[in-house]
Amino acid sequence: MKTRDCRNTLREIDSNELDQQLSDKSSAHIAGCRSCREALHQGSSLRRLVAGFETVSAPPDFDMRLRARLAAEKKPATAWINLWRQAPGVPAFALALSLLVVGALAFYLRPPGTQQIAGRGKPAVQSPAQTGVPAKAFPSNELASGTQAVGVQTGRETDDASIPERERREPVSGARRTGRSTVEPDAVAKGSDISSREYNQLPANLIKRATDAGMETSPVVSLSAPAQPVVVSMRDDHGATRTISLPPVSFGSQRLVQPGYQSTAMISSAKGVW
C-alpha cells in the first residue's frame, strides 16, 4: 500500500540523478519499505541502461550529401547569374546586342518621310522644275501621236548633273544594267552625290498628264506599249556591247485604244469584247 511517504520517495527517486544521494527522510523510508527499495533499484538500473546508449554515428557520406543538398538549394537563386557568367561570348554578345539596339533606335527615331540614305545630301525626288530634264532625254518614252501620254516622276530622272557623262550619253544601257537606277555601280561605290529611293516604302508615283500646261518639259512616259520590238544596246564595264531585243508587251487594253487595231478574238466573240 502506497502511503504519502512512498509517493514522496518515488518522486524523489525519479527526480534525482544517478549518483545523487537521497534525503535522510527518503533513505529512512526506503530502509523499511520493500516496494520503494525495488523502485529505487529499478530506477537506477533503467537510468544506467538509458545512459548506456551508444552515440549513433552519422553515415560516412553525411558531409557529401549535405554539400549536395546545400548546392541544390543555392542553384535556383543563382542559376541565371551562373549562366550569364559561364556564357562563352558574353562581351561579343553584349556588343552585338547594343549595336542592334542602337540600330533599331536609329531606324525608329528617324524623321518621318525621310527618303534619303544616310550620307546622301540631296533629296531623292525633285520637282520637274528642279530637274529640268527634257522629255527627249529618254528615248524609250517618246509619246505616240494621238494617245494620252502621262508624265511619271521616278528616281532615276533626278539630278541630271549628278549623272556621269558616259551615263548621260547612254542612259538606256545604264538603266538596264542597274535595273532601278541609271547610275553606274562604280559611281555609287565612289560615294558620288547621287540619291536613290526605296520603292517599297513610298507611295505610288505621281502621274500627270503630259498635255497639261506647264508639264511639257517634264519627263513623260507612254502607257501604250510600242508596237515594234525595242532593241537595246548595252555596254558593260569591259567595253563589250550587247544588243537585246525586247518584244512589245501588251495587256490587251493598250491595243484596244490604239487606232485601227482589231483583234481576231474580238471579232469572233459573240459574248462581248475581250
Binding site: 518522486r11 533503467l46 538509458v50 546508449f53 549513433v56 554515428s57 553525411f62 549535405l66 538549394e73
Partner: protein
Amino acid sequence: MSTVTSLNELDFAGVLPAPVIERVSDHALLAASETGDEDAFAELVGRYRNQITSYIYRMTNDYEGAVDLAQETFVRVYRAASRYQTTHAFSTYIYRIATNLAISELRKRKRRRLVSMTGFFESHEGKEPTEFNPPDNRPLQDVALVDTERRTAVKRAISTLPEKYRAPLVLRDVEGKSYEEIAGILRTSEGTVKSRISRARGFLRDKMRNYL
C-alpha cells in the same frame, strides 16, 4: 661513435615546432560560414553531426529519417546563419532546431497513422498509443542477449513516450544536457523540465518493470 638504431632516437619532437591547435568557437565558425567560408561550416558540421543524428534517432527511433532530419538541421543553420544571435550557446540553438524537426516528424507520423499495429493500446494517463509489450517470463539464456533485449525494450518504451516527456528525457539521460540547457532548448523553465523528466522516468519505469 654512436649509431642510430631506430627513428624514435632522432627525437623529431624536440626539433620540430609543435602544431598550434586552436579551438575556434562555434560562434566564430558560424560567422565565418556566413561570409562564405565552407571550411568553417564543415568544421561546424563535423562537431555536431553525430550528436544531432544520435539525438534525433533517439527521438524518432528511425535511423534514415534521423539522418535526413540531421541534414535538414544543418541546412537550416546554414540558411539562418545571418539571423543567429549569440545570446545562447550554439549547441542550444542547433538542438532546438533538431528538437523542433523531430517533434514535427513525430506529429506527421501520427497524422499519417504510421503507428504500428500494436499501438492501439493506450496508456492510462497520456492517452498516447503504447506498444503492446507483454512480459516475457521465460528463463534467461544469455546475459548479452538479455542486455540487447532490454535495450531494445527501452528504445521502444522511449518511443512511446509523449513528445513533451520524450525530448527532455532524451536530452537529460541520453545526451547528458544540464537542466538549464534543456530549458533553453525547449524554451521552458527549469522547473517544468525537471517535472517532465521526473514524469518520463516514472512512465519508463512502469513500462520496463518486467525487464529490470
